[in-house]
Amino acid sequence: MRLRKLTLRHFRNVVFAGLEFSGRQQFLAGANGQGKTNLLEAAGFLTALRSFRTAESKLLVGHGQSAAAVSFELEHERLGEAHVLIKLRRDGRELWCDSARVTRLADHLGKFPTVVFSSQDMLLVRGSPAGRRRWLDLTLAAMDAGYLAVLQTFSRALAERNALLKRGGADERQLAAFEQTLAPAAAELIARRAAGLLALSATLKSAYGQISGETEKAGLTYEPNFAEPSSDALLARLEVGRARDAQFRTTLIGPHRDDFQFAVRGTAAKDFASEGQQRSLVLALRIAQAAWFQAKSGVRPVLLADDVLGELDPERRRRFWGTIDAEAQVIATGTSPPDGALGPWQVFEVADGMFTEKPVGP
């Protein structure tokens, strides 16, 4: 997939921007706080109508405006030339694909893969399990409407069961009624997460080797809160746990408490890996995500690199560029001009939400 034209209106600090892309590599250059990342955020919104920075879409609408819009013109492996329009309001959003309204997110997922490389990715290694779960759910759901459906069923059943527990004095039969939907959805979620992480881990391992130049093994290990992907086993466990759950007024067991860890040489990366190793790990994770998207959708993802390259030493940076898909479109941001050795870049200068294409210099 190649992004050929991107138009933003009232998106964060960008009042209006229309960028026409030619070639494979685009670079957005400018000082901090000018709107570079906002543009990448808008581009990344295409995949699953989610921002990589915030869960609240109302933050995306420009100050004092009632709605924002992002429009995409794309060259697509399966659809040919495609046009996608996303309208964002403070209370909701609308999606149009080739002038037809798309009302179910499930029908949109899996078509337009993008992967964001962000400097905040380090939080995936060091941060809370909730952040890792959010990343995993987004990655797996973005290409698989089946995963999204299971996740939604699970979350809804969990919220209903927790509402019962919160009120106190919950009747066993009502708890059982919601457990009947909760358990099969949870079991499927566990199985799908295990399979997804296994595939992601395999690509991460080879990408990490290439970026770091190290031979030691890296990987992802799934840490399910309830390890057995069996509906009956979980049903039995939930039933046994009712009294304790009632005491804590919430469901204590299940995939809503899952986690996964990054490992280098078999030890937990968040405790033992160096800064540089952790940086290589998250880059390898994003490369694994891109490979997963491509395998699932048959569409080559657009890579959105948000100021991550500046933090790498030249050697690692060179190896990173050697690792990514040589055919994939890359839209990168940074404060200093891009590496000329990486081939021709189309450069846009960013200042105060305005984007100006810089003519190719002599």
């Binding site: 179910r104 499930a106 029908d107 409407a145 089946g146 459906a149 069923t153 809804r156 059943a157 919220a159 209903e160 069961r161 509402a163 019962l164 009120r167 919950a170 009747d171 039969r173 009502q174 059982a176 009624a177 919601f178 009947q180 939907t181």
Partner: protein, 199 residues
């Protein structure tokens, strides 16, 4: 505008589906544009409020003790189709595919929205079962978490009471006359899960 007008508009706005603009439009229509229609509307409201109530057996709308369907001796009284709301019953009736009885729960279990078993029209269903004569229950509740939980709850309660009635769940899948191509992915999954032997 005027105190009485504002009061009317405020009451209209509380009705489901009406916002500020539409309630204002209705109030203007009734008071200014077509005031001649007002007495008939007031009378209809009063009459309906006086005579329409829930059917003592199934919970649907009735003007006597029983609704038209429960009072109809030609219908099959051995089969009861359980639905969430009166409009669900109306939709099934419109299909003319069903000649049995109904039972309207007036909701589904949802602790998040504060709806428990006591808020549903369950007691009269259990009374109907105890009075016997019912051989099959068709659960025509919605295909979501709350609908499924309500089906499960109902089934468990009936089993605990020792009823051995046949219980079925309506199928979920492709709309008639609709191609596979145009079905959304969740419906397709449901249709595949619910496939049956073809002979």
């Amino acid at each position: 505008m005027t105190p009485a007008f504002d009061k009317l508009q405020k009451h209209l706005k509380q009705l489901p589906g009406l916002g500020y603009r539409s309630s204002e439009r209705i109030a203007l229509h009734l008071l200014v544009e077509k005031p001649a229609r007002l007495p008939a509307l007031v009378e209809a409201l009063e009459e309906a409020a006086r005579s329409v109530r829930r059917c003592a057996r199934c919970g649907s709308l009735a003007e006597g003790e029983l609704c038209g369907i429960c009072a109809d001796e030609r219908r099959d009284h051995a089969v009861v189709c359980v639905v969430e709301q009166v409009p669900d019953l109306v939709a099934i009736e419109r299909s003319t595919a069903y000649r049995g009885m109904y039972h309207v729960l007036h909701g589904k279990l949802s602790p998040m929205h504060g709806v428990g078993p006591d808020d549903l029209n369950l007691a009269s269903l259990f009374e109907r079962m105890a009075a016997s004569g019912v051989e099959e229950i068709i659960l025509a509740l919605s295909n979501d978490v709350e609908g499924e939980a309500t089906c499960h709850y109902l089934t468990e309660r009936l089993a605990a009471m020792g009823h051995t009635v046949k219980i079925s769940r309506i199928g979920f899948g492709l709309p008639s006359g609709g191609g596979v191509l145009y079905a959304d992915s969740v419906t397709l999954k449901s249709a595949l899960d619910g496939r049956r032997a073809y002979s």
